[in-house]
C-alpha cells in the first residue's frame, strides 16, 4: 500500500495551539458489583477522577493492561455508559451517543449485515438529513475510495473479509465527518499482515488534510501506538493516567527510527509497572 503519504504527519506539527475538541473532566465510573459474590459491594471503581484533553487533529493512542478501564473510558466518551463527571465536545456537554463521536469497534461484525457496503455508509448520512441520492453516492464513494474499497459498493458485509469489514467501518466513520473518531482496538482481531496494512492506511488517512480527523485509538500493542499516535497515553489499573505525552518519534516510524528502542522500553516499563 501507499507508504509515502505519512511523511508530513501531524506528529511533526506542534498541536498545542489547536482547539480542544474533547474535554474529559473528573470522570469517575463505578460499576455495580453488588451481584458479584466476594465483592465488597462498594462497586468496581474502574475509573476515578480522570481528566483529559484532546485537541483538533490529535491521534491519541491509549495503551494499558487489560481491565485498566481504557475501553470504559472510550465507551463513556461515546455516550454508551453512565458516568460521573463531565465530557464536553467543543465545549458542549455530552452524555448520550451521537454522530459527533463515531465508534469503530474491535468486533469486525459491526456493520449491519442487512445493508450493502454502500448503504451501511449512507445510512448514518441519511439519518443526518442528507436526502439527495447523488450526494449520498458521492460521499460514500469518496469514503470507500479512501480506504481502498472502490468497486465494493454493492457487496454485503458477509461477502467481505475481516480486514475489509474494518475498512468499511472506518469509511463509515469518515463519511460522517465526526468531531472525533473513537477506535477500540479495531485491528486486534486481524492477522498480522492485514493489521500492518491497515495501520499504514489509517496513518495516511489521519494525516490527510481533507479528512481533518481527530482520533482516539485504544491498543494493547506498543509498536502500534508508536507508529500511529501523535500523542501517547498509558493507563494504569484504576484508570489513572501514567503517561500522557506527545509521541517523540518522527514519522514515518519504523523499528529503525531514531529513539524507537528507548521509547518502546519506556512505554513497556510504564505499562508493566502496575
Amino acid at each position: 500500500m501507499d507508504e509515502a503519504g505519512p511523511g508530513t504527519a501531524a506528529g511533526d506539527v506542534d498541536a498545542a495551539d489547536k482547539p480542544v475538541v474533547l474535554e474529559v473532566s473528573h470522570l469517575t465510573k463505578i460499576f455495580d458489583d453488588s451481584q458479584i459474590p466476594g465483592a465488597d459491594g462498594m462497586g468496581n471503581r474502574v475509573i476515578v477522577d480522570l481528566s483529559l484533553q484532546v485537541r483538533k487533529n490529535d491521534f491519541l493512542c491509549i495503551l494499558g493492561p487489560s481491565g485498566c478501564g481504557k475501553t470504559t473510558l472510550l465507551r463513556c466518551i461515546g455516550g454508551f455508559e453512565n458516568f460521573e463527571g463531565k465530557i464536553r465536545i467543543n465545549g458542549i456537554e455530552r452524555r448520550t451517543p451521537g454522530t459527533d463521536r463515531i465508534m469503530v469497534f474491535q468486533d469486525y461484525n459491526q456493520l449491519f449485515p442487512w445493508k450493502t457496503v454502500e448503504k451501511n455508509i449512507q445510512y448514518g448520512l441519511k439519518l443526518k438529513g442528507i436526502r439527495d441520492k447523488e450526494e449520498l453516492r458521492r460521499l460514500s464513494d469518496h469514503a470507500l475510495e479512501t480506504v481502498g474499497l472502490s468497486g465494493y459498493q454493492k457487496y454485503y458485509p458477509h461477502q467481505l473479509s475481516g480486514g475489509m469489514k474494518q475498512r468499511v467501518a472506518i469509511a463509515k466513520a469518515l463519511a460522517l465527518k465526526p468531531e472525533i473518531i473513537l477506535m477500540d482496538e479495531p485491528f486486534a482481531a486481524l492477522d498480522a499482515i492485514t493489521r500492518n496494512t491497515l495501520q499504514q492506511e489509517l496513518l495516511r488517512i489521519s494525516a490527510d488534510q481533507d479528512w481533518d480527523c481527530t482520533i482516539i485509538f485504544i491498543t494493547h500493542n506498543i509498536q502500534e501506538a508508536i507508529v500511529l499516535g501523535t500523542r501517547i497515553m498509558v493507563m494504569e489499573k484504576g484508570g489513572t493516567i501514567a503517561v500522557n505525552e506527545k509521541n517523540p518519534i518522527r514519522r514515518p516510524v519504523t523499528p529503525a527510527s531514531e529513539g524507537y528502542g528507548a521509547y518502546w522500553n519506556k512505554l513497556h516499563a510504564a505499562l508493566y509497572r502496575a
Binding site: T96, P97, T99, I102, F105, Q110, K128
Partner: protein, 272 residues
C-alpha cells in the same frame, strides 16, 4: 471442480420424485388388493378414483358449490387472520421493548396462550360471540400471534449489542432504533416465526372449520367433513391433496422467497 451427480440439485429432486412414485405404487397395489374387505374401494380408493374425484371437487363440488369457492372462503379468512395476527405480534412485541411492565405481562400471556389449542378455545368464543366467520378469524389470529410473538421477542432479545450500539451511535432511539436495527437484526427469527405461525394458522383454520363448519361461509374444513358424511371418500382424499398443495404453494411460493431475499442474502443464519 465439477460436482458429482449425487451432490447435485437435480439428484435431490429426482430422489424426492422417485419416493413419491414409490408411495403411489404402494398405494395403488394396496387399493387394488382390496385389503379393507368387500367395500375396500370406498374406504381406500384407487389413485384413478381420487384423480377423478379431484376434478369432480372443482366441477361439481357439493350442493352446487365447487371446492374452489370453499377454498377461496378459507383463504380469505386465513389471510385476514394472518395479517391481524402478525400485525399484533409486531405491535405487542415492539411495545414489550419499550415498557418493562408490558413486557412482563405480555411474556406471561404468550407462555399461557401458546399452550392453549385454538379449537379448545372455540366453544367459549362461540358461546360469547355466536357462530360467524369472525370466530374463525379469531382462531387464526390466536394460532399465529403467540408463536410469532415468541419468535419476534426472542429475535429482539438476541439482537447483537454491537448493532444496537452502532444504531444509537448514528442517533437512533425509540421507534427508529426498533425498526432500523431490532427488526432487521431479528430477521432470521421473524422468518422462522412466519413459518411456524403460518403452519399453525393453516392447521387451526382447517380444524375450526371441521368442528364448527359455518354454512354461511363454507371452507375447506367443512367440505372435507361433508364428503365424509356423504361417504364420498375419494373426494375426501382429493381434498386432502388440495390442502397439501396449498401448503406447498405457500411454502415454496411465498415463505422460501422471503427467506432467500432476506436472511440468506444477508448471510444471517436462519434461527430455525
Amino acid at each position: 471442480m465439477k460436482k458429482s451427480f449425487r451432490e447435485s440439485k437435480s439428484c435431490d429432486i429426482l430422489v424426492k420424485v422417485l419416493f413419491l412414485v414409490l408411495v403411489a405404487i404402494i398405494w395403488e397395489i394396496t387399493a387394488k388388493a382390496h385389503v379393507f374387505g368387500e367395500r375396500s374401494e370406498i374406504v381406500f380408493p384407487t389413485i384413478e378414483a381420487i384423480g377423478a374425484a379431484f376434478v369432480r371437487n372443482f366441477t361439481k363440488g357439493y350442493a352446487g358449490t365447487g371446492l374452489a369457492l370453499y377454498t377461496l372462503n378459507s383463504m380469505n379468512l386465513l389471510l385476514r387472520g394472518l395479517l391481524i395476527g402478525i400485525g399484533l405480534a409486531f405491535a405487542f412485541s415492539g411495545l414489550s421493548m419499550i415498557s418493562r411492565t408490558f413486557s412482563n405481562v405480555y411474556n406471561l400471556c404468550v407462555t399461557i396462550f401458546d399452550l392453549l389449542p385454538g379449537v379448545a378455545l372455540l366453544p367459549v368464543v362461540i358461546v360469547i360471540f355466536g357462530v360467524k366467520p369472525g370466530v374463525i378469524v379469531f382462531l387464526v389470529v390466536h394460532s399465529v400471534i403467540w408463536p410469532m410473538s415468541r419468535s419476534v421477542l426472542d429475535g429482539f432479545k438476541a439482537a447483537p449489542k454491537i448493532y444496537v450500539e452502532a444504531g444509537k451511535n448514528l442517533g437512533l432511539n425509540g421507534p427508529g432504533l426498533l425498526f432500523g436495527v431490532y427488526v432487521p437484526a431479528a430477521a432470521a427469527y421473524i422468518v422462522s416465526g412466519l413459518k411456524v405461525g403460518w403452519a399453525r394458522a393453516w392447521r387451526g383454520l382447517i380444524a375450526a372449520e371441521m368442528v364448527f363448519g359455518i354454512a354461511s361461509c363454507p371452507g375447506i374444513g367443512l367440505y372435507i367433513n361433508q364428503m365424509r358424511t356423504n361417504m364420498k371418500n375419494a373426494e375426501m382424499y382429493a381434498t386432502l391433496i388440495v390442502i397439501i398443495i396449498i401448503g406447498l404453494v405457500v411454502q415454496y411460493g411465498i415463505l422460501n422467497p422471503i427467506e432467500k431475499m432476506t436472511v440468506r442474502r444477508w448471510g444471517m443464519v436462519s434461527a430455525a
